[in-house]
């Protein structure tokens, strides 16, 4: 009953606002990243540092990008590995 009243009063309706917010969020991830390619460069340098603690990687071949699917943005890193370090466990 309250559900019906709510719907008449326009509250329960999922509404287009969430769609708008979600689309905006996704588009801004991309906009902001392309506005500052420095950010990706900085991250690349940091990634090399961290990953090099564990394996020898091909720094030249390293490639990172933001990939976008229907409803998510993913940071995709392609890091060619030359050699794994033997880590004492």
């Amino acid at each position: 009953m309250l559900g019906l009243i709510s719907r008449i009063l326009g509250k329960e309706d999922p509404g287009s606002k969430n769609v708008a917010k979600e689309r905006l969020r996704l588009v801004l991830v991309h906009d902001r990243a392309s506005v500052s390619p420095q950010l990706l460069q900085l991250m690349k340098a940091d990634l090399i540092k961290v990953v090099s603690n564990y394996m020898e990687i091909d720094e030249e071949g390293l490639n990172i990008s933001l990939d976008r699917s229907e409803n998510a943005v993913a940071l995709v890193a392609n890091i060619p590995v030359k050699k794994l370090k033997r880590v004492a466990t």
């Binding site: 509250k11 509404g15 606002k17 905006l24």
Partner: protein
């Protein structure tokens, strides 16, 4: 200490000119000496919004090209003591209006006025770059739509990185409380959350803006309009008074009262 404030948005038609006119009139009502600079060269609007279109002799490009003195191009408003307009050209070539010429102009205007408010063109091309070049502060206007907020985000990024204007302030214009409540319009909180800048104020969608603009008048001096009150509050905040946000809920309607009664209102 004079201030140069630019009103900008990225997307066109979201309310920059309306905002410039009303903030200017509001500041003048409180006794400040204000000049509004139309930087939308080729698409002159601020003169008609203020009802001053018949009084233009010289414009911004004449001043920049030294075809007249600055004082000759400045028009005194007839309704608000202290309010002035520096119109721009409607037809002429706008290449004269460069970032450097705007900086030179604003340095002179700062000597003469307490507030120099610049109405920026839409877009992020050279017209935008010239309009923002001399500003120390920026107001970014947006509406609760995906495209407008996206463009606002872009402009905020440019202001901060390319122009060196730290913390621009946000105005959300044309908010429709009913649609926000029914979940069909982004709320002010949603927008502020996404853009992550300080909110200067919220202007409701209001017929009174259309009516006053038809007449070449402002709304900020209309005490019976919600948008007028909202602009007044923005003026106080520019002056440094921490005025709370207006309650934009429409009080009257039966449904809104019922909604409050059964606790569905937020």
């Amino acid at each position: 200490m004079s201030e140069v404030i630019v009103v900008t948005s990225g997307k066109g038609g979201v309310g920059k000119t309306t905002t410039t006119a009303n903030i200017g009139a509001g500041l003048a009502m409180l006794g400040h000496k204000v000049v509004l600079v139309d930087a939308d060269t080729g698409l002159r609007n601020l003169d008609v919004v203020l009802g001053l279109e018949n009084r233009i002799v010289y414009d911004l490009t004449n001043v920049i090209n030294e075809e007249c003195r600055l004082r000759q191009a400045i028009i005194k408003d007839k309704r608000f003591e202290g309010l002035h307009l520096l119109p721009t050209a409607q037809t002429k070539d706008k290449s004269a209006v460069t970032p450097e010429s705007m900086q030179k102009l604003c340095t002179e205007l700062k000597e003469m006025f307490d507030y120099v408010i610049i109405d920026c063109p839409a877009g992020i091309e050279q017209g935008f770059m010239s309009a923002v070049a001399a500003a120390g502060k920026a107001i970014v206007v947006t509406t609760p739509e995906v495209a407008a907020v996206r463009d606002a985000d872009r402009v905020i990024g440019l202001l901060e990185s390319k122009v060196g204007i730290k913390d621009p302030k946000l105005i959300v214009n044309r908010l429709r409380t009913k649609m926000v409540r029914s979940g069909n319009m982004m709320s002010v909180d949603d927008i502020v959350d996404i853009l992550a800048i300080d909110l200067l104020g919220v202007i409701p969608e209001d017929e009174k803006i259309v009516i006053s603009t038809n007449r070449g008048e402002t709304v900020v001096d209309n005490e019976h309009s919600l948008s007028g009150k909202a602009f007044k509050n923005i003026v106080w905040r520019i002056l440094g008074e921490p005025v709370p946000l207006l309650d934009l809920q429409d009080e009257g309607g039966f449904l809104s009262r019922l909604r409050k009664f059964i606790g569905l209102s937020n």
